[in-house]
Amino acid sequence: MTALLEVRDVRLSFGGLQALDGPSLDVADGEVVGLIGPNGAGKTSLFNCIGGLYRPQSGSIKVAGREVTGLPRHRIASLGVGRTFQNIGLLPSRTVLENVLAGGYHSTTGGWWATTLGLRRIGRSETELSARAIALLAELELSDVAGRMVGTLPFGTLKRIELARALLGEPRLLLVDEPANGLVHSEVLELGTTLRRLAAERGAAILLVEHHMGLVTSVCDRVAVLDFGRLIAQGDPHEVARDPQVVAAYLGSAA
């Protein structure tokens, strides 16, 4: 069986800076894989290549067997890729619920004519989508803020709203960029449980970028380590955490 996500020798540079230096990585259906590495290692850049925001100079990225490099960005969502952004990509002038509903765009239909004419099925699909969104908000403990404008909420909450939005699109592959950023310790543990449950219940594969090692080891089946754009280690989370090369990479970045 081919993997859901297949990354092969992806190279991406910005001017003289090699952000991705040929990493290869597979993620199978339903698998939770951690992507770790020091600041500037290229983790977010890899997400952006998968989502079509950056176009690598060479290499290949396949989702469910389809090459995504060079595909128009808006087509990638319909391959089942959902993501959250490290720096938040929400619409500040909209309510939490509306932001989450926006995640249902590619999984629902309703063109210009059907919408203008107010066809029955548009109303039904909207009602059904709202119900799912409200359920998701409850699941992520966001019900209290559902009607609030996003611009007024704390960072940790925004990260969960983004997660809810991505989940509403029922992704097969969910890319999560530093979800624990802005959370206090107890919330991080809770988030870990939630992510595991979501992956199990929905059969979604998750690629998780995270600096919080406790979260990574408790949630991930497998971990891949990037350093200066190269994949330096891969495997069981606990073993990888002891790998001397990995330790050196993190120490090097701390020094």
Binding site: L53, H74, G89, L91, P92, A102, F155, G169, G182
Partner: protein, 354 residues
């Protein structure tokens, strides 16, 4: 990414929203969800408004009907322009051009012997097509550039009308016979009033549907964060061109009604000032709100009448001042103000909602 909300900013906004020390300016600038009246109130207001609108032309002299018809015509333009500018975030200073195309479609159609309510369809379709073709390249531009291109469009319109002399009769203009068909027992002003009312109601409902659901969310995503919109599966470029063409069609239908109302079109009806009043309309009413088009239309119809009784220069000055004041203090226009003032009261009213 343009939507980055750093934690500090989020917290600051949070304190501003909840703290007692929020200044008046902050209060005015705050984005707010639409009013959520209980169902009985919505039905009552719609019924009373409907009766009033249907009754107005039967009991009023024709000059009153004329101004109310103009308000409805501006409303149609405003609804379409707000879809593009308010919801879609694409600036257009050139909608007087589409308004003119619609007006001339009715005028020329009339000369060719096409009965006039039918020419209204052409008045919508032609600007749609032209808007689509212009939108294809223009919407690759951003902000200021798009503003300049559409500004050029508005400035060129009177000259273009004169240049197409064989079709438009240049500066002489075209007289139009827009009397109602013989089976309609109405005077000219009443007939056009009802046509404009029908157009405004259809436009209002269509806009509300487009602005609310799945598509409405995609417009706002395109406006606020193109890359995020694409990540969610929105074809940004297609959305922009369709918005541009659709809003051009609204302006065209309104232009057609305008021609039928005045029973005359000439190049000077469609100058840059018209485009500027369209933009003023949506800013005053409230960008990215649907009812804003109505309030803005009332403003651009009645305020100049009032100011020009003070002095001929007062209208330009009033528009300038108003645009500045709204840009600084009321980014969501009169509708934003109404939401702030009435939101809590309306929320407390008893009754079933939705």
């Amino acid at each position: 990414m343009s939507v980055v909300t750093p934690p500090q900013a989020a917290r600051r906004a949070d304190r501003a929203a909840d703290g007692a020390r929020a200044s008046v300016a902050e209060w005015l600038r705050r984005p707010r969800p639409p009013l959520a009246p209980p169902r009985w109130l919505a039905i009552l207001a719609t019924a009373l408004g409907g009766i009033a609108l249907l009754g107005i032309p039967l009991v009023n002299p024709s000059y009153i009907n004329l101004t109310v018809t103009l308000v409805m015509i501006w409303t149609v333009v405003g609804l379409g322009l707000n879809l593009l500018v308010g919801f879609g975030g694409q600036v257009s200073l050139g909608h007087s051009a589409f308004f003119a195309i619609g007006a001339y479609a009715v005028a020329v159609g009339g000369e060719l012997g096409i009965p006039h309510p039918a020419t209204l369809l052409v008045a919508g379709m032609l600007p749609f097509a032209v808007g689509y073709v212009i939108g294809l390249p223009a919407l690759r531009l951003h902000g200021l550039q798009l503003g300049l291109v559409t500004l050029a469009l508005a400035m060129a319109t009177p000259a273009a009308i004169r240049a197409f002399e064989p079709l438009t009769h240049g500066s002489r203009g075209i007289a139009i016979d827009a009397d109602p068909p013989s089976w309609v027992p109405l005077a000219h002003d009443q007939w056009i009033y009802y046509l404009a009312l029908a157009a405004a109601v259809v436009a209002y409902l269509a806009t509300r549907r487009l602005a609310r659901g799945r598509l409405g969310r995609s417009f706002v995503a395109v406006r606020d964060a193109e890359l995020v919109a694409e990540t969610l599966g929105v074809n940004v470029w297609q959305t922009k061109t369709r918005l541009f063409a659709t809003s051009a069609a609204y302006a065209g239908v309104a232009g057609g009604l305008y021609a039928m109302l005045l029973e005359f079109v000439g190049p000077e009806n469609f100058n840059l000032a018209l485009s500027i009043s369209f933009v003023t309309l949506i800013v005053v009413g409230g960008l990215a709100t649907v009812p804003g088009a109505v309030l803005g239309a009332l403003f651009v119809q009645y305020v100049p009448t009032f100011t020009s009784s003070v002095s001929p220069a007062a209208t330009g000055a009033a528009y300038g001042v108003v645009l500045i004041v709204f840009a600084f203090f009321l980014p969501f226009g009169l509708v934003g103000l109404a939401r702030g003032a009435l939101g809590k009261v309306v929320d407390r009213l008893p009754g079933r909602r939705g």
